[in-house]
């Protein structure tokens, strides 16, 4: 089998851990960068046979990929196959001219910056190290280096964040004219240090923050961005110079395509099997150093499950889902009911009926999808 066109590579290292983060990260362990890159390359050697010769996307996520020792990062980038879109996640304070040049010189086409907020007190709540000026400087540096596809991540619903704080964050972000913007509601995952510290405060503010999602969508779309996925926006039309600026890598997930993931905690879905590498750094490095597969677990994704996933992922997008593609995954009565409620629209097309969520339906996408599932 050859033909997987999306590759994810996980770089777990971080300078420190942010309280709200629930990704697989590793703080410190500078001496592990080289062995980890060795292990990554070994894993790609083992598993890479499924990859198509012409990759569409590569995505380096983290962690903070840009705190990886520059030499090691460069070694990895050089070894990775070429792709039409190569994205690297970065924290603003790590984006030096030298780093930007390194990325640029090694085929990176897109940088995703974790800005999160422009309000110092809120950045403090999130344990973020970058200042608002670091974010602005990082964007300038990337532009100066020639990057024409920059994405910013924002977080809203931060404990203590007022509606005007959010407005200011959105204004600051839009002023930097990123090609792409991701806006996430803060999730205080039960059991995290952050939930422990701020959970009660968040519950108290829940009512006040209920309208923040609307505020984000209204503001960002009014600035000329396309709301193409629940939490993602991109420039379009003339402002995009005719380019499709959606995150193509992530679009692969949302369209239900196969993808290969490498690194600790990375997930692949290939040929009906979802494979999840376990998060232990030492075991991962140890196994691959001995020529063994990294510790991981498999989850079969049968056709029915795959159809359900296509439905739930597809409805996050602003493009329609073809009903014939998700036959058996949805409940026809619920579809009629949700259509009556104005939550989704059914349209006939050359290849059969298609559905998409209405503008209002997209704000309630979770509940609508839960109801629609068979």
């Amino acid at each position: 089998m050859s033909g997987v066109r999306h590759l994810y590579v996980h770089l777990p290292f971080c300078a420190h851990r942010c309280g709200y983060c629930d990704f697989v990260t590793v703080v410190g362990k500078g001496d592990q960068h080289a062995p980890y890159i060795d292990a990554l390359l070994a894993e790609l050697e083992r598993e890479g046979a499924v990859l198509a010769p012409d990759l569409e996307t590569v995505f380096l996520g983290g962690g903070t990929p840009t705190v990886t020792a520059p030499g090691e990062l460069e070694r990895l980038l050089r070894a990775l196959p070429d792709a039409e879109e190569v994205t690297v996640e970065a924290n603003p304070e790590t984006v030096t001219p030298a780093l930007a040049a390194l990325l640029r010189a090694n085929g990176v086409t897109r940088v995703s910056l974790g800005a999160q907020s422009f309000q110092p007190p809120l950045l403090g709540v999130l344990d973020r190290r970058a200042t608002p000026e670091d974010v602005r400087q990082a964007v300038r540096t990337l532009r100066d280096t020639g990057f024409d596809n920059v994405s910013l991540d924002l977080v809203y619903g931060i404990p203590g964040q007022s509606g005007s704080d959010l407005e200011a964050d959105l204004d600051e972000a839009l002023a930097l004219e990123p090609e792409h913007l991701s806006c996430y509601e803060l999730e205080a995952k039960p059991g995290t240090r952050f939930a422990h510290a701020h959970g009660e405060e968040l519950a108290r503010q829940a009512d006040a923050m209920e309208g923040y999602f609307e505020q984000v969508v209204d503001t960002v779309t009014a600035a000329g961005y396309r709301w193409y996925e629940t939490a993602n926006f991109c420039l379009e039309g003339a402002r995009a110079n005719g380019r499709d600026l959606r995150a193509r890598h992530n679009l692969g997930y949302w369209l239900g395509r196969d993808y290969l993931g490498a690194g600790i905690g990375a997930v692949s879905t290939v040929g009906g099997v979802r494979r999840r590498n376990l998060p232990s750094l030492s075991r991962y490095i140890g196994a691959l150093a001995h020529g063994e597969a990294p510790p991981r677990e498999d989850e079969p994704i049968d056709a029915e499950t795959a159809a359900r996933e296509r439905l739930l992922l597809g409805l996050r997008l602003d493009e329609p889902v073809v009903l014939a593609d998700v036959a058996g995954a949805f409940d026809a009565d619920a579809l009629a009911r949700l259509s009556d409620l104005g939550m989704l629209a059914v349209t006939a097309n050359g290849h059969g009926d298609e559905i998409r969520l209405t503008w209002r339906g997209r704000f309630l996408g979770g509940g609508v999808t839960a109801e629609l599932l068979a």
Binding site: T230, N250, T269
Partner: protein, 597 residues
Amino acid sequence: MQQDRIRNFAIIAHIDHGKSTLADRILELTGAVSERDMREQLLDSMELERERGITIKAQAVRVSWKGHQLNLIDTPGHVDFTYEVSRSLQACEGALLVVDAAQGIEAQTLANAYLAIDGGLEIVPAANKIDLPQADPDGAAKELGDLLGEEPDRVLRISAKTGVGVDEVLDAIVERIPPPGGDPDAPARALVFDSSYDQYRGVVAFVRVVDGTFSTREPLRAMAQGTEFDAEEIGVMSPARTPIDSLSAGEVGYVITGLKDVSRLRVGDTLTSRRRPADGPLPGYQDVKPMVFAGIFPTDSDDYPELRDALERLKLNDASLSYEPETSQALGFGFRCGFLGLLHMEIVRERLEREFDLDLLITAPNVAYRATTRTGEEVEVHNPAEMPRELEQVEEPYVKASVIVPKDYVGAVMELANERRGTFDHMEYLSEGRVLLLYELPLGEIVLDFYDQLKSRTRGYASFDYDLAGFKPGDLTRVDILVAGEQVDALSLIIHRDFAYDRGRQLVERLREEIPRQMIDVPVQAAIGSRVIARETIKARRKDVLAKCYGGDITRKRKLLEKQKKGKKRMKQVGSVEVPQEAFLAVLNLDSDRKRS
């Protein structure tokens, strides 16, 4: 066994006064059960009974004592099961009246004692739990003596727990209770006083033989219903089923009928032999009319046939349960069931859920109403949603309630009774510190939580019993609940006009809390006819999405939505609104809230 060596007796007592413990001790002492086999409350065979420490079903056990055959018929102790008590008593010549010596006479002591006296039974009084440090055997004996018009000396002093005085109890049964009458040579007749269903052998009838003799394999007929069958097996409980060849006049035992259809043999019917039939049946039982009604619906509508079968089975064991099919727009297909009271309802629900593994939704209970429409038509209404709108008059059932309480709590009881539209009848001192209060109350005011309130306002000291006392007109009105403009039939209620506005408002407020926010604004209204008396709006949700969903999140996200979907399946769809099952019970809890505020 010669008839004059037989004694048939029941034990009657207020709940927790030690009836079942005494029964256990009697079984042990007479050697019916070895000490090793002794389980606490052996006669209470249902799991539920043992767990709750109460007796629900009557049981009949044969034991021997000094050359006599004693048939012990255990009885339920709760107010809801008075009917079963009176059925059991009809199979006896005497009753052991047990009172907790630390508590004295309680409301059900009185109720049961009167039932036995009315039935012409010889009563053997006993003051139990004399081993307790706070026991006052003399006080209890005096109360019992006063009640029965006997010398306190005749009251036995016992401890069923330690076994003290239990010998004397057995002796007193033999000495004081008369042997059964009946003609051993007449055509056979036996009263079916209880029955159960054995999944392998069909209906098992518990009988008291009045005349003649019944033998195994004898062709029998149930005289009232005309059902014919052969006695596949005849026997006695001792305490396990023990087959014997025949049962004669005065004896108590069981008959395995082989009948597979539970409705073909009713409790209260008379069995006779087809070889030499009796002329006429024994006086049967009066059909008890259930006074409390509620809708029972399967949570999953696919379970409807199972629910129907389960009710049919239960009905065999519980003659006082009645049910008829009901269709609710909100809850689908189910049954409107009639109960003797709230505990009865609770027990039926628990038995349905445990013994038949059903997941059920039960609506708030209501009483039976007699309505006269403007056109003069009279209807009995068991479901508030069926109350006609154009009414001339509505009558509701009343009860005579007796409450026994320490004198310090008389005020609290009076206050509660007044809140519940009670009419004071009279009060009397049972002893220096304890008072009997008699009230007339609408049954509809006590079905929800009167007993709980009574207990909590008297710190658990009050005991309570009631007798139905006929119907009386009341200024009652029907309040409907509308969710998103659609009437929710399962939430309609009938209530005194004075309480209608308050209750309507409380109900819509509670529903606003219970019904989760939906995709659209949902008005919740209470209305009398077309007039809206209260309104709340459940505001639509503004967001319901999982912010992030990338390659590693998909499984978790899918599972989350599938779980959410499963949760939705437990909700009932009212129009386009998902109403959680708990909301239908909101009506039940209003009263307790009302009292707290």
